[in-house]
Amino acid sequence: MPQVLADTPRMPAFASSGPFQHAAFAVLLFGGWELYARWMGNFVLLPPPSRVVFAFYDLIVSGKLIPALLNSMWLLFVGLVTAFVFAFVFGVLVGRYRVMDLTLSPYFNALYALPTVALVPLVLVWLGFGFSGRLLVVLLAAFFPMLINTYTGVKVPPQDLVEVAKSFGVRGEFAMLRRVVLPAAFPFIMAGIRLGIGRGVVGMAIAEVYMRLGGIGALIVGFGSVFKTDYVIAAIAPLPLLGIGLTQLFAYLEKRVAYYRT
């Protein structure tokens, strides 16, 4: 299996420059965009940020965005939880049992290399436009970072601690898992979840855009087909915000729980 994704411990979700740099760059970026869009004058091709903000406001007030977003977040949540359950079980099995590693790893590697979008047509044929099809897409997107990190974490437990546990009477695979292997793998597993959240948001967006006629995906496709690009951008905007927000939230929780990593 491939190496653990990213430099697992203590990687900030994004750089931690000061709020001043953030603000200054944002003013530059959005100010420039505003000016350029107005100078160009084609608001269908490139709507200025002010129009996008208005569209966003309109989407909220008209009650279109929030229910669609909640709907999509539910899909994301169920997808992430299911992905974690599967990733945890398979990660531990493949990491701890050589036979499982040898038989299953090639398939996991192959599937990991496959972009989730490429599977959409197949999933559509198998499961249709229903919830289960979209769930499968989110699951597939979020599954692999979680799987690989769990696998890496449990694969080579700290040998000295395994010996300590043995010398004090810990016997059997299950007891060793509970007492040493899983606690030692905990930071890896947490980092896997964090990475999985980011990819899950992507999976959710794909599922919502390609596989259904409601929710946030429907908003995006609907406005796109009538060239209301300001509304398209306004509807897309919550997705990266959601990704960053959830990842940051999780990174924070991670730091709180995995205090021993300092």
Partner: protein
């Protein structure tokens, strides 16, 4: 050389250990221990010393039940051992503390494995932590402690299981010299209180002599017992400067003469000397 008596607590009889591994299809073998026999009396403090690579740590790990041996027997109170047992507790060179557990949870770990009631386990852990001078550090995590303090936790953890035999694998090897002297003194004190049987592996000659009732010297690999030398230094040894005692210098010199050639040879082989 070795005394076989009814009071013998731990007997290491003719223990042989061969490490076998395969590299690129070629089978390799290394004879690490070649028939080691040592008898340890109840309540005895025995140091094992030898040049690096003599298999002293392997010997300790065999006694701990962490490594299988190829021949011979390890007998405790007349029963050959099969794997680790609650009558032995080990103190590790690398401390072996769980980094995700607080100090007190580390000490309680073996007690939890033994299904001891929580309140009793806490009580015992607290009492041993205070005995090793770590009162007030119960809820700290190991990485916030110095090496010396971490090993005190390791010692408290081993003692908390109330073992008959304490196995110590170069426990002060990675601790700075000054702290080490305090730790040695504390160990003597704790041993004086509890009178456990101790098997102490070290490569530090002064330490071996200072602590032990008897020093077993191993030959350079494959390990064999070269000599077993009693240390006649009055106890308690923390009440005077034991290193300045005439017997200390004498025993130290005797062992040094044995080790010297092996160490020089080993250094030559490693390209140091």
């Amino acid at each position: 050389m070795t005394t076989t008596s009814t009071t013998s607590k731990l007997q290491i009889r003719d223990v042989r250990k061969i490490f076998r591994w395969e590299k690129r299809g070629v089978k390799h073998e290394l004879l690490a221990l070649d028939g080691v026999t040592v008898d340890i009396r109840e309540g005895e403090f025995l140091s094992v010393i030898g040049p690096s690579g003599c298999g002293k740590t392997t010997l300790l790990r065999i006694v701990a039940g962490l490594v299988d041996h190829d021949d011979g027997q390890v007998v405790i109170d007349g029963n050959p051992i099969k794997g680790p047992g609650p009558e032995r507790a080990m103190v590790f060179q690398s401390f072996g503390l769980f980094p995700w557990k607080t100090v007190i949870e580390n000490v309680k770990f073996p007690l939890h494995i033994r299904k001891m009631e929580e309140r009793r386990a806490t009580e015992i852990a607290r009492s041993f932590l205070s005995r090793v001078g770590l009162e007030g550090f119960e809820d700290v995590i190991p990485s916030q402690l110095s090496g010396g303090m971490q090993q005190r936790v390791g010692l408290a953890r081993a003692l908390a299981t109330d073992p008959d035999i304490l196995l110590m694998d170069e426990p002060f090897g990675s601790i700075d010299a000054q702290t080490r002297e305090f730790m040695q003194e504390d160990l003597l004190r704790l041993w004086g209180e509890s009178k456990k049987t101790v098997l102490f592996v070290t490569h530090d000659l002064d330490e071996a002599v200072l602590l032990a009732d008897r020093v077993v010297v191993l030959t350079k690999g494959p390990g064999r017992v070269r000599a077993s030398i009693p240390v006649e230094l009055p106890r308690p040894r923390w009440e005077y400067d034991a290193r300045a005692h005439a017997n200390f210098a004498e025993v130290r010199h005797e062992i040094w003469e044995m080790l010297k050639s092996d160490i020089i040879e080993a250094q030559g082989a490693a390209g140091v000397g």
